[in-house]
Symmetry: C2
């Protein structure tokens, strides 16, 4: 155990694309855990698209991070010292509120135990964590997947999208992915078993490209991206098509209000639906979701990949790279 | 009974706003009813926004009207001669497929009997017809109205909108209308009992104007109009807000693709939903809807107004006027 805690503070709110200099790496003393708390040492940090929203000076479903505060983020961590019943030194946990730092003394109540025997502990931030659960409930509950239908996923090579598309495949749907490189497309249609995938950067007309691989329309569209990909998907919705808005990463870093075609009239004749969702609303069913996801991972039906950046000093770089599509699968920072 | 049937044919497909010259008034012989048919004489013709879509050379939920065909439209008509069981000369019926003409020989099977004792027969094209049913199912089923919440209606002074807003009021909601003249606003907040209404043509910032009359956000938005009014409503959606897309009249006559702000990310934090619907999907429940609407009309809780244009020769003019907002309540052509 080191005697100093390196932590990333928010130095200023990004204008447009975040920069490394929007954050500041400082050293602080390691806090001692209080009664009911544990001292955790970070093993893996998660960087996720939602963090861009937390950097804005605007309340959303969660308050913004304050200037000078430790940047928010979840982590998989090891218990160094425990003053809480049921947790002992050496246990591994997932903490949704850990932040971009090496150590944290946190309440044991908010932690989820991670069993290193079941899967690599890093998966608790990906396929067996919030991204996997987001894909699970977004696909099954919001998109109401039905066997034999066509499901399209944008951001399909990311942590959420790669899981969402495979869940569609596992449920007997035609799974179609949209991603930003040929390497990603090859991974989706190869190892992950998507029925089709398109590279939006080279596809030309997205509507034509999607139509070619969705010949009877799109029944379910899981959207991580927004923008022109989503315009194309909406135009191709089938009767009673369902769109789950998980994220809109294509507009998060825009400095001017983004415009696009007015397409709501497309919903009328198709009796189609667009719905936003947040994973927290499903917290009473996380256990169900994790059991299902864990079963599919163990059986080999559900595969995952991780893009791991080494060292807490590279966390902002990893975050920015993820926002630019530099990851395949879950983007992580290896800290420990 | 005249011996000639005046009828409006589609001469050409409108580019942008329809013109009277897009239609052609011709005389034709009156057809004789076949077995199982009745000969009907038109009393009132309906002109409705959906007709603009039928003039397009594009299949939607119904095929387009052909060039040279009688323009589509529903009518309330009187039976002149019956060759069908259960209908006799003098009976009044509503026919959804009558068309813009004075006489038609039609299958009795597609007709709905109208009881002149219950309400003026013209209401079978308005508050006690498709527009009323559209408001009923759109508000109760798609918007899932709940007492004590805020419901906003665009196109609020039209046949559908004026009924939708009153249904919200009847169900204990705060009813807010958006319309295009001070006279309409006065009617909504006066006779119809809306809690508030705004004139979108003079309101300035629609988001600010709507926010001022929806201080805790919008729980249900019934949309007939689209465009900037809908942008404002989406920005003001409350948690789990619901948007029913009934029509988008603001874009039907545009000659160029319309653009607007990208707002789907607004749905995420609010877990809000936008859904298109068509009244035909509720046909098994029309009886329920008409009984409810009829009860409210008889009790005086649900009021209506009609803007009646006299003479079949003025039908295109009435249609175009309705598209430009020239009506208060249901726009009708009195034929008989």
């Amino acid at each position: 155990v080191s005697d100093s805690n390196r932590r990333w503070l928010v130095r200023r709110r990004p204008e447009g694309w975040p920069e490394v200099d929007d954050f500041e790496l400082v050293e602080a003393p390691i806090e001692a855990p209080g009664e009911g708390q544990v001292l955790l040492r970070n093993l893996y940090l998660s960087v996720d698209p939602y963090m861009r929203g937390r950097l804005r000076d605007r309340d959303s479903y969660a308050p913004p991070v304050g200037i000078g505060d430790v940047m928010v983020g979840s982590a998989v961590a090891e218990v160094v010292e425990s003053r809480a019943a049921g947790l002992a030194a050496g246990d591994v946990v997932e903490s949704p509120t850990f932040g971009w730092q090496e150590y944290a003394a946190v309440d044991a109540a908010g932690l989820r135990r991670v069993d290193p025997e079941l899967a690599p502990v890093s998966t608790a931030l990906g396929v067996l964590g919030m991204p996997g659960l987001t894909a699970y409930f977004g696909m099954l509950d919001v998109c109401e997947l039905r066997p034999g239908t066509t499901a399209v996923v944008s951001g399909a090579a990311g942590a959420v999208g790669s899981t969402a598309g495979q869940i569609a495949r596992i449920h007997g749907c035609r799974a179609v992915g949209v991603a930003g490189s040929d390497e990603k497309v090859d991974w989706l249609t190869g190892e992950l078993g998507f029925d089709a995938a398109i590279n939006y950067k080279t596809a030309g007309s997205l509507t034509r490209a999607l139509a070619a691989v969705c010949p009877v329309g799109i029944d379910a569209y899981f959207d991580n991206v927004g923008g022109p990909i989503t315009d194309a998907a909406i135009r191709l919705l089938a009767l009673r098509g369902r769109v789950a808005i998980c994220g809109q990463i294509s507009i998060y870093n825009a400095t001017e209000a983004q415009t696009g075609p007015r397409l709501l009239w497309e919903l009328v004749a198709r009796r189609a639906r667009i719905e936003g969702f947040l994973i927290f609303d499903y917290r009473d069913r996380y256990r169900e979701g994790l059991e299902k996801l864990g079963g599919w991972v163990r059986s080999g039906e559900l595969r995952y990949r991780e893009t791991v950046v080494d060292g807490i000093e590279r966390t902002p770089e990893a975050f920015i790279s993820m926002m630019r599509g530099g990851n395949i699968g879950k983007m992580l920072v290896k800290v420990g």
